[in-house]
Protein backbone atom coordinates (compact mmCIF):
# COMPACT_ATOMS: atom_id res chain seq x y z
CA UNK A 1 0.00 0.00 0.00
CA UNK A 2 1.46 3.25 -1.18
CA UNK A 3 2.44 5.84 1.44
CA UNK A 4 2.27 3.13 4.05
CA UNK A 5 4.53 0.25 3.08
CA UNK A 6 7.43 2.54 2.18
CA UNK A 7 7.51 3.84 5.71
CA UNK A 8 7.87 0.31 7.03
CA UNK A 9 11.07 -0.36 5.12
CA UNK A 10 13.58 -2.24 7.29
CA UNK A 11 16.52 -0.77 5.35
CA UNK A 12 15.38 2.77 5.92
CA UNK A 13 14.53 2.05 9.53
CA UNK A 14 17.98 0.65 10.07
CA UNK A 15 19.68 3.72 8.61
CA UNK A 16 17.60 6.07 10.74
CA UNK A 17 18.39 3.97 13.76
CA UNK A 18 22.12 4.10 12.99
CA UNK A 19 21.88 7.82 12.53
CA UNK A 20 20.11 8.20 15.89
CA UNK A 21 22.81 6.13 17.57
CA UNK A 22 25.49 8.25 15.94
CA UNK A 23 23.79 11.46 16.98
CA UNK A 24 22.93 10.78 20.60
CA UNK A 25 25.61 11.55 23.22
CA UNK A 26 23.66 11.62 26.48
CA UNK A 27 20.29 10.52 27.91
CA UNK A 28 17.16 12.27 26.66
CA UNK A 29 13.54 11.87 27.74
CA UNK A 30 11.10 12.30 24.88
CA UNK A 31 7.33 12.00 25.05
CA UNK A 32 5.25 10.85 22.13
CA UNK A 33 1.91 12.47 22.93
CA UNK A 34 -0.23 10.26 20.81
CA UNK A 35 -1.46 6.79 21.74
CA UNK A 36 -1.31 5.77 18.11
CA UNK A 37 2.40 6.47 18.18
CA UNK A 38 2.79 4.54 21.42
CA UNK A 39 1.02 1.64 19.79
CA UNK A 40 3.27 1.78 16.75
CA UNK A 41 6.44 2.06 18.84
CA UNK A 42 5.67 -1.06 20.84
CA UNK A 43 4.02 -3.02 18.02
CA UNK A 44 7.08 -2.57 15.86
CA UNK A 45 9.46 -3.26 18.72
CA UNK A 46 11.11 0.11 18.32
CA UNK A 47 11.51 0.81 22.02
CA UNK A 48 13.99 -2.04 22.29
CA UNK A 49 15.85 -0.96 19.20
CA UNK A 50 16.55 2.58 20.32
CA UNK A 51 19.87 3.32 22.00
CA UNK A 52 19.59 3.19 25.80
CA UNK A 53 20.10 6.94 26.05
CA UNK A 54 16.73 7.57 24.54
CA UNK A 55 13.93 7.24 27.04
CA UNK A 56 10.57 7.38 25.30
CA UNK A 57 7.72 8.17 27.64
CA UNK A 58 4.12 7.86 26.68
CA UNK A 59 1.66 10.70 26.70
CA UNK A 60 -2.01 11.22 27.39
CA UNK A 61 -2.98 10.98 23.74
CA UNK A 62 -5.47 8.15 23.93
CA UNK A 63 -8.92 9.69 23.85
CA UNK A 64 -10.49 6.50 25.12
CA UNK A 65 -8.13 6.49 28.10
CA UNK A 66 -8.83 10.03 29.22
CA UNK A 67 -12.62 9.94 28.86
CA UNK A 68 -13.91 10.50 32.40
CA UNK A 69 -15.71 7.69 34.24
CA UNK A 70 -18.63 10.00 34.66
CA UNK A 71 -19.14 10.32 30.92
CA UNK A 72 -18.99 6.57 30.44
CA UNK A 73 -21.56 6.22 33.18
CA UNK A 74 -23.70 8.70 31.27
CA UNK A 75 -23.40 6.66 28.10
CA UNK A 76 -24.28 3.56 30.09
CA UNK A 77 -27.30 5.29 31.54
CA UNK A 78 -28.51 6.32 28.09
CA UNK A 79 -28.05 2.80 26.77
CA UNK A 80 -29.54 0.97 29.72
CA UNK A 81 -32.17 3.28 31.12
CA UNK A 82 -33.17 5.46 28.19
CA UNK A 83 -33.20 2.65 25.67
CA UNK A 84 -31.23 4.58 23.05
CA UNK A 85 -29.11 2.96 20.37
CA UNK A 86 -25.72 3.88 21.77
CA UNK A 87 -22.92 3.68 19.23
CA UNK A 88 -19.25 4.37 19.32
CA UNK A 89 -15.88 3.19 18.11
CA UNK A 90 -14.77 -0.31 19.06
CA UNK A 91 -12.29 0.38 21.82
CA UNK A 92 -14.55 2.77 23.67
CA UNK A 93 -16.89 -0.11 24.42
CA UNK A 94 -14.39 -1.91 26.57
CA UNK A 95 -13.50 0.90 28.97
CA UNK A 96 -14.91 0.36 32.44
CA UNK A 97 -17.20 3.01 33.88
CA UNK A 98 -17.80 3.01 37.59
CA UNK A 99 -19.48 -0.37 37.46
CA UNK A 100 -19.19 -1.81 34.00
CA UNK A 101 -18.27 -1.15 30.39
CA UNK A 102 -20.58 -0.53 27.46
CA UNK A 103 -19.72 -4.00 26.25
CA UNK A 104 -21.02 -5.41 29.50
CA UNK A 105 -24.16 -3.30 29.15
CA UNK A 106 -24.59 -4.82 25.71
CA UNK A 107 -24.24 -8.27 27.22
CA UNK A 108 -26.94 -7.19 29.61
CA UNK A 109 -29.32 -6.38 26.78
CA UNK A 110 -28.60 -2.72 25.95
CA UNK A 111 -28.48 -1.77 22.27
CA UNK A 112 -24.82 -0.84 21.93
CA UNK A 113 -23.21 -0.84 18.49
CA UNK A 114 -19.76 -0.54 17.05
CA UNK A 115 -19.45 1.77 14.09
CA UNK A 116 -16.63 2.71 11.82
CA UNK A 117 -17.75 6.30 11.45
CA UNK A 118 -20.09 8.81 13.11
CA UNK A 119 -21.60 9.27 9.66
CA UNK A 120 -22.82 5.67 9.96
CA UNK A 121 -24.60 6.68 13.14
CA UNK A 122 -26.53 9.32 11.22
CA UNK A 123 -27.59 6.66 8.72
CA UNK A 124 -28.68 4.48 11.62
CA UNK A 125 -30.81 7.32 13.00
CA UNK A 126 -32.39 7.78 9.60
CA UNK A 127 -33.18 4.06 9.37
CA UNK A 128 -34.61 3.91 12.90
CA UNK A 129 -36.90 6.92 13.17
CA UNK A 130 -38.61 5.42 16.24
CA UNK A 131 -35.39 5.12 18.23
CA UNK A 132 -33.02 7.68 19.67
CA UNK A 133 -29.50 7.21 18.34
CA UNK A 134 -26.63 8.59 20.41
CA UNK A 135 -23.09 8.57 19.14
CA UNK A 136 -20.52 8.58 21.92
CA UNK A 137 -18.22 11.04 20.15
CA UNK A 138 -14.84 10.41 21.63
CA UNK A 139 -11.71 11.88 20.16
CA UNK A 140 -8.94 14.38 19.89
CA UNK A 141 -8.90 17.14 17.30
CA UNK A 142 -8.50 14.54 14.54
CA UNK A 143 -11.93 13.08 15.11
CA UNK A 144 -13.69 16.36 15.79
CA UNK A 145 -14.45 17.16 12.12
CA UNK A 146 -16.10 13.77 11.60
CA UNK A 147 -18.15 14.10 14.76
CA UNK A 148 -19.09 17.66 13.86
CA UNK A 149 -20.01 16.56 10.34
CA UNK A 150 -22.37 13.98 11.75
CA UNK A 151 -24.26 16.75 13.52
CA UNK A 152 -24.34 18.81 10.36
CA UNK A 153 -25.59 15.86 8.33
CA UNK A 154 -28.27 15.05 10.88
CA UNK A 155 -29.32 18.68 10.92
CA UNK A 156 -29.46 18.76 7.15
CA UNK A 157 -31.58 15.60 7.10
CA UNK A 158 -33.95 17.10 9.66
CA UNK A 159 -33.37 14.21 12.05
CA UNK A 160 -34.72 14.68 15.56
CA UNK A 161 -33.51 11.39 16.92
CA UNK A 162 -29.75 11.87 16.60
CA UNK A 163 -27.39 13.36 19.13
CA UNK A 164 -23.79 13.03 20.20
CA UNK A 165 -22.34 12.57 23.65
CA UNK A 166 -19.15 14.53 23.06
CA UNK A 167 -15.96 13.55 24.81
CA UNK A 168 -13.47 15.71 22.98
CA UNK A 169 -10.06 16.63 24.29
CA UNK A 170 -7.34 18.88 22.89
CA UNK A 171 -3.64 18.22 22.63
CA UNK A 172 -1.89 21.54 23.26
CA UNK A 173 -3.48 22.13 26.69
CA UNK A 174 -2.51 18.56 27.60
CA UNK A 175 1.12 19.22 26.66
CA UNK A 176 1.02 22.30 28.78
CA UNK A 177 -0.44 20.36 31.71
CA UNK A 178 2.24 17.71 31.38
CA UNK A 179 4.99 20.31 31.30
CA UNK A 180 3.53 22.15 34.26
CA UNK A 181 3.64 19.05 36.41
CA UNK A 182 6.47 19.30 38.88
CA UNK A 183 7.45 15.69 38.50
CA UNK A 184 7.70 15.93 34.75
CA UNK A 185 11.18 15.50 33.28
CA UNK A 186 10.27 15.61 29.62
CA UNK A 187 12.80 17.28 27.35
CA UNK A 188 11.09 17.03 23.96
CA UNK A 189 7.86 16.04 22.27
CA UNK A 190 6.86 14.12 19.22
CA UNK A 191 3.71 16.02 18.34
CA UNK A 192 0.74 14.03 17.08
CA UNK A 193 0.73 13.95 13.29
CA UNK A 194 -2.96 13.42 12.75
CA UNK A 195 -4.02 16.11 15.19
CA UNK A 196 -1.75 18.50 13.32
CA UNK A 197 -3.28 17.40 10.03
CA UNK A 198 -6.42 19.11 11.27
CA UNK A 199 -5.06 21.94 13.44
CA UNK A 200 -1.74 22.73 11.79
CA UNK A 201 1.43 23.44 13.72
CA UNK A 202 1.00 27.05 14.72
CA UNK A 203 -0.32 26.08 18.13
CA UNK A 204 3.07 24.70 19.05
CA UNK A 205 5.22 27.81 18.67
CA UNK A 206 4.01 29.39 21.94
CA UNK A 207 4.62 26.08 23.75
CA UNK A 208 8.13 25.81 22.38
CA UNK A 209 8.78 29.37 23.43
CA UNK A 210 7.30 28.90 26.89
CA UNK A 211 8.96 25.61 27.81
CA UNK A 212 11.98 25.74 25.52
CA UNK A 213 11.51 22.19 24.27
CA UNK A 214 11.86 20.69 20.78
CA UNK A 215 8.54 19.73 19.21
CA UNK A 216 8.57 17.52 16.10
CA UNK A 217 5.29 16.76 14.35
CA UNK A 218 5.59 13.07 13.52
CA UNK A 219 3.77 10.36 11.61
CA UNK A 220 2.84 6.87 12.70
CA UNK A 221 4.82 4.40 10.66
CA UNK A 222 8.09 3.06 12.05
CA UNK A 223 10.24 5.11 9.70
CA UNK A 224 8.21 8.22 10.50
CA UNK A 225 8.76 7.67 14.17
CA UNK A 226 12.46 7.02 13.79
CA UNK A 227 12.88 10.11 11.64
CA UNK A 228 10.89 12.13 14.17
CA UNK A 229 13.08 10.85 16.99
CA UNK A 230 16.21 11.62 14.99
CA UNK A 231 15.02 15.17 14.31
CA UNK A 232 14.21 15.59 18.00
CA UNK A 233 17.56 14.24 19.14
CA UNK A 234 19.36 16.50 16.70
CA UNK A 235 17.63 19.51 18.23
CA UNK A 236 18.31 18.31 21.74
CA UNK A 237 21.95 17.62 21.06
CA UNK A 238 22.24 21.04 19.38
CA UNK A 239 20.54 22.72 22.31
CA UNK A 240 17.80 23.92 20.02
CA UNK A 241 14.05 24.11 20.68
CA UNK A 242 11.93 24.56 17.61
CA UNK A 243 8.86 23.26 15.85
CA UNK A 244 9.66 20.87 13.01
CA UNK A 245 7.38 18.85 10.74
CA UNK A 246 8.46 15.31 9.93
CA UNK A 247 4.99 14.46 8.61
CA UNK A 248 4.81 17.10 5.90
CA UNK A 249 3.20 14.73 3.39
CA UNK A 250 -0.11 15.26 5.14
CA UNK A 251 0.44 18.03 7.70
CA UNK A 252 0.35 21.62 6.44
CA UNK A 253 1.36 24.51 8.69
CA UNK A 254 -2.13 25.91 8.62
CA UNK A 255 -3.77 22.50 9.15
CA UNK A 256 -7.02 21.80 7.30
CA UNK A 257 -9.03 25.04 7.10
CA UNK A 258 -12.25 23.27 6.06
CA UNK A 259 -12.01 20.97 9.03
CA UNK A 260 -11.33 23.81 11.42
CA UNK A 261 -14.36 25.63 10.03
CA UNK A 262 -16.60 22.64 10.65
CA UNK A 263 -15.25 22.13 14.16
CA UNK A 264 -15.82 25.77 15.03
CA UNK A 265 -19.31 25.66 13.62
CA UNK A 266 -20.40 22.79 15.88
CA UNK A 267 -18.10 22.92 18.88
CA UNK A 268 -16.78 25.47 21.36
CA UNK A 269 -13.85 25.11 23.72
CA UNK A 270 -14.49 24.41 27.38
CA UNK A 271 -12.71 23.29 30.55
CA UNK A 272 -12.42 19.55 30.54
CA UNK A 273 -11.83 16.75 32.98
CA UNK A 274 -9.29 14.15 31.86
CA UNK A 275 -9.52 10.72 33.41
CA UNK A 276 -6.50 10.12 35.62
CA UNK A 277 -5.30 13.70 35.25
CA UNK A 278 -8.05 16.01 36.40
CA UNK A 279 -9.53 19.14 34.91
CA UNK A 280 -7.41 21.01 32.38
CA UNK A 281 -8.65 24.51 31.50
CA UNK A 282 -9.84 25.08 27.95
CA UNK A 283 -8.89 21.54 26.94
CA UNK A 284 -12.05 20.14 25.40
CA UNK A 285 -14.92 20.69 23.00
CA UNK A 286 -18.59 20.90 23.81
CA UNK A 287 -21.49 21.24 21.38
CA UNK A 288 -22.46 24.86 20.70
CA UNK A 289 -25.86 26.11 21.83
CA UNK A 290 -26.92 26.45 18.19
CA UNK A 291 -26.78 22.66 17.94
CA UNK A 292 -28.16 21.98 21.41
CA UNK A 293 -30.79 19.66 19.89
CA UNK A 294 -27.95 17.33 18.92
CA UNK A 295 -26.21 17.41 22.27
CA UNK A 296 -27.05 14.26 24.19
CA UNK A 297 -25.93 16.00 27.36
CA UNK A 298 -28.74 18.50 27.03
CA UNK A 299 -31.28 16.33 25.25
CA UNK A 300 -31.27 13.74 28.00
CA UNK A 301 -31.12 15.35 31.35
CA UNK A 302 -28.85 12.89 33.05
CA UNK A 303 -27.37 13.57 36.43
CA UNK A 304 -24.77 10.96 37.20
CA UNK A 305 -22.89 11.08 40.44
CA UNK A 306 -19.16 11.37 40.11
CA UNK A 307 -17.29 8.26 41.06
CA UNK A 308 -13.78 8.52 42.41
CA UNK A 309 -11.15 6.84 40.29
CA UNK A 310 -9.44 3.65 41.40
CA UNK A 311 -6.77 4.39 43.98
CA UNK A 312 -4.66 1.50 42.83
CA UNK A 313 -4.40 2.79 39.29
CA UNK A 314 -1.62 5.25 38.63
CA UNK A 315 -2.95 6.12 35.17
CA UNK A 316 -2.45 9.82 35.85
CA UNK A 317 1.27 9.33 36.34
CA UNK A 318 1.46 7.06 33.31
CA UNK A 319 -0.45 9.48 31.10
CA UNK A 320 1.82 12.33 32.14
CA UNK A 321 4.88 10.25 31.39
CA UNK A 322 6.05 10.21 34.99
CA UNK A 323 5.79 6.44 35.30
CA UNK A 324 6.08 3.68 32.76
CA UNK A 325 3.14 1.22 32.70
CA UNK A 326 5.31 -1.58 34.01
CA UNK A 327 6.23 0.56 36.96
CA UNK A 328 2.62 0.44 38.11
CA UNK A 329 2.33 -2.06 40.97
CA UNK A 330 -0.88 -3.49 39.49
CA UNK A 331 0.43 -3.88 35.93
CA UNK A 332 -0.13 -7.48 34.80
CA UNK A 333 -1.31 -8.42 38.27
CA UNK A 334 -4.66 -7.00 39.27
CA UNK A 335 -4.75 -5.05 36.02
CA UNK A 336 -4.86 -6.89 32.70
CA UNK A 337 -6.60 -6.20 29.43
CA UNK A 338 -9.34 -8.69 30.19
CA UNK A 339 -9.91 -7.08 33.57
CA UNK A 340 -8.57 -3.53 33.45
CA UNK A 341 -8.25 -1.36 36.53
CA UNK A 342 -7.68 1.76 34.50
CA UNK A 343 -8.47 2.95 31.01
CA UNK A 344 -4.88 2.81 29.66
CA UNK A 345 -5.08 -0.96 29.98
CA UNK A 346 -8.11 -1.06 27.71
CA UNK A 347 -7.56 0.61 24.41
CA UNK A 348 -4.77 -0.95 22.42
CA UNK A 349 -3.53 2.62 22.13
CA UNK A 350 -3.44 2.90 25.87
CA UNK A 351 0.12 2.82 27.12
CA UNK A 352 -0.54 0.06 29.64
CA UNK A 353 -2.27 -2.19 27.12
CA UNK A 354 0.41 -1.52 24.52
CA UNK A 355 3.04 -2.54 27.02
CA UNK A 356 1.06 -5.53 28.12
CA UNK A 357 0.45 -6.83 24.64
CA UNK A 358 3.65 -6.10 22.90
CA UNK A 359 6.47 -4.96 25.04
CA UNK A 360 9.27 -7.23 26.00
CA UNK A 361 9.03 -5.98 29.55
CA UNK A 362 6.35 -8.56 29.94
CA UNK A 363 9.07 -11.17 30.04
CA UNK A 364 9.98 -9.97 33.45
CA UNK A 365 6.51 -10.65 34.71
CA UNK A 366 5.04 -13.77 36.08
CA UNK A 367 3.33 -15.44 33.16
CA UNK A 368 -0.40 -15.15 32.88
CA UNK A 369 -1.75 -18.37 34.26
CA UNK A 370 -3.82 -19.60 31.35
Amino acid sequence: MKFLTEYRSPELAERYLEEIKKTVTRPWTIMEVCGGQTHSLVKNGILNMLPPEINMVHGPGCPVCVTPINLIDKALYLAEEKGVILCSFGDMLRVPGSEKSLLQAKAGGADVRILYSPLEAVKLAKENPDKEVVFFAVGFETTAPANALSVIHAHRLGLHNYSILASHVLVPPAIEAVMNDEESNIEAFLAAGHVCTIMGIDEYYPLVDKFRIPMVVTGFEPVDLLQGILMTVKQLEAGEAKVENQYSRVVRSEGNPEAIKVIEKVFQINDREWRGIGTIPMSGYEVRKEFAAFDANLKFDVQIEKTPESEECIAGLVLKGIKKPNECPQFGKKCKPEMPLGAPMVSSEGACAAYYHFHQAIQDLEMVNV
Binding site: E6, R15, E19, G36, P145, A146, H194, T197, Q227
Partner: protein
Amino acid sequence: MCLAIPGKIKSIESQYDGLVRIAKVSFGGIIKEASLEMVPHAKVEDYVLVHVGVAISVVDEDEARKTFQYLKEMGEVEEELNISEMLPDDI
Protein backbone atom coordinates in the same frame (compact mmCIF):
# COMPACT_ATOMS: atom_id res chain seq x y z
CA MET B 1 -4.91 8.37 18.81
CA CYS B 2 -6.74 8.65 15.60
CA LEU B 3 -6.01 5.84 13.19
CA ALA B 4 -5.81 7.39 9.74
CA ILE B 5 -4.77 5.55 6.60
CA PRO B 6 -3.90 6.81 3.12
CA GLY B 7 -5.95 5.47 0.27
CA LYS B 8 -6.47 6.26 -3.37
CA ILE B 9 -9.64 7.88 -4.67
CA LYS B 10 -11.20 5.67 -7.30
CA SER B 11 -14.36 7.67 -7.98
CA ILE B 12 -16.39 10.52 -6.58
CA GLU B 13 -20.15 10.84 -6.15
CA SER B 14 -22.23 13.61 -4.73
CA GLN B 15 -25.00 13.55 -2.16
CA TYR B 16 -27.47 16.09 -0.74
CA ASP B 17 -27.94 17.68 -4.18
CA GLY B 18 -24.27 18.11 -4.77
CA LEU B 19 -23.57 19.60 -1.35
CA VAL B 20 -21.47 16.68 -0.24
CA ARG B 21 -18.84 14.75 -2.15
CA ILE B 22 -18.34 11.12 -1.27
CA ALA B 23 -15.42 9.13 -2.65
CA LYS B 24 -14.77 5.47 -3.09
CA VAL B 25 -11.30 5.05 -1.69
CA SER B 26 -9.09 2.03 -2.24
CA PHE B 27 -6.84 0.74 0.52
CA GLY B 28 -4.72 -1.99 -0.99
CA GLY B 29 -7.66 -2.88 -3.19
CA ILE B 30 -10.35 -2.80 -0.56
CA ILE B 31 -12.84 -0.02 -1.18
CA LYS B 32 -14.52 2.07 1.47
CA GLU B 33 -16.55 5.26 1.25
CA ALA B 34 -15.15 8.49 2.63
CA SER B 35 -16.55 11.98 2.80
CA LEU B 36 -14.52 14.57 0.87
CA GLU B 37 -16.12 17.52 2.64
CA MET B 38 -12.84 18.38 4.40
CA VAL B 39 -10.74 18.11 1.23
CA PRO B 40 -12.67 20.12 -1.38
CA HIS B 41 -9.88 19.95 -3.94
CA ALA B 42 -9.28 16.22 -3.80
CA LYS B 43 -9.79 14.49 -7.12
CA VAL B 44 -9.80 10.99 -8.53
CA GLU B 45 -6.33 9.33 -8.32
CA ASP B 46 -5.35 11.50 -5.35
CA TYR B 47 -4.30 9.76 -2.18
CA VAL B 48 -6.24 10.97 0.83
CA LEU B 49 -5.71 10.29 4.51
CA VAL B 50 -8.96 8.84 5.85
CA HIS B 51 -10.02 8.84 9.47
CA VAL B 52 -13.35 7.38 10.62
CA GLY B 53 -14.90 7.79 7.20
CA VAL B 54 -13.74 11.32 6.56
CA ALA B 55 -10.80 12.30 4.33
CA ILE B 56 -8.78 14.81 6.32
CA SER B 57 -5.81 15.51 4.04
CA VAL B 58 -4.54 14.97 0.53
CA VAL B 59 -1.15 13.25 0.57
CA ASP B 60 1.54 15.39 -1.02
CA GLU B 61 3.80 13.20 -3.18
CA ASP B 62 6.73 15.60 -3.12
CA GLU B 63 6.63 15.98 0.62
CA ALA B 64 6.27 12.23 0.92
CA ARG B 65 9.61 11.77 -0.77
CA LYS B 66 11.35 13.88 1.85
CA THR B 67 11.60 11.06 4.34
CA PHE B 68 13.67 9.18 1.79
CA GLN B 69 15.77 12.22 0.95
CA TYR B 70 16.30 13.42 4.51
CA LEU B 71 19.35 11.31 5.30
CA LYS B 72 21.00 12.27 2.02
CA GLU B 73 20.26 15.93 2.53
CA MET B 74 21.84 15.67 5.95
CA GLY B 75 24.86 14.42 4.05
CA GLU B 76 24.77 11.27 6.08
CA VAL B 77 24.26 8.80 3.24
CA GLU B 78 25.57 8.86 -0.26
CA GLU B 79 22.55 8.11 -2.38
CA GLU B 80 18.87 8.82 -1.93
CA LEU B 81 17.02 5.62 -1.11
CA ASN B 82 14.87 4.59 -4.00
CA ILE B 83 12.29 2.73 -1.98
CA SER B 84 9.50 5.00 -3.05
CA GLU B 85 10.17 4.22 -6.69
CA MET B 86 10.34 0.52 -6.05
CA LEU B 87 6.79 0.39 -4.81
CA PRO B 88 4.00 -0.25 -7.26
CA ASP B 89 1.23 2.27 -7.49
CA ASP B 90 -1.73 1.26 -5.44
CA ILE B 91 -4.52 -0.80 -6.95
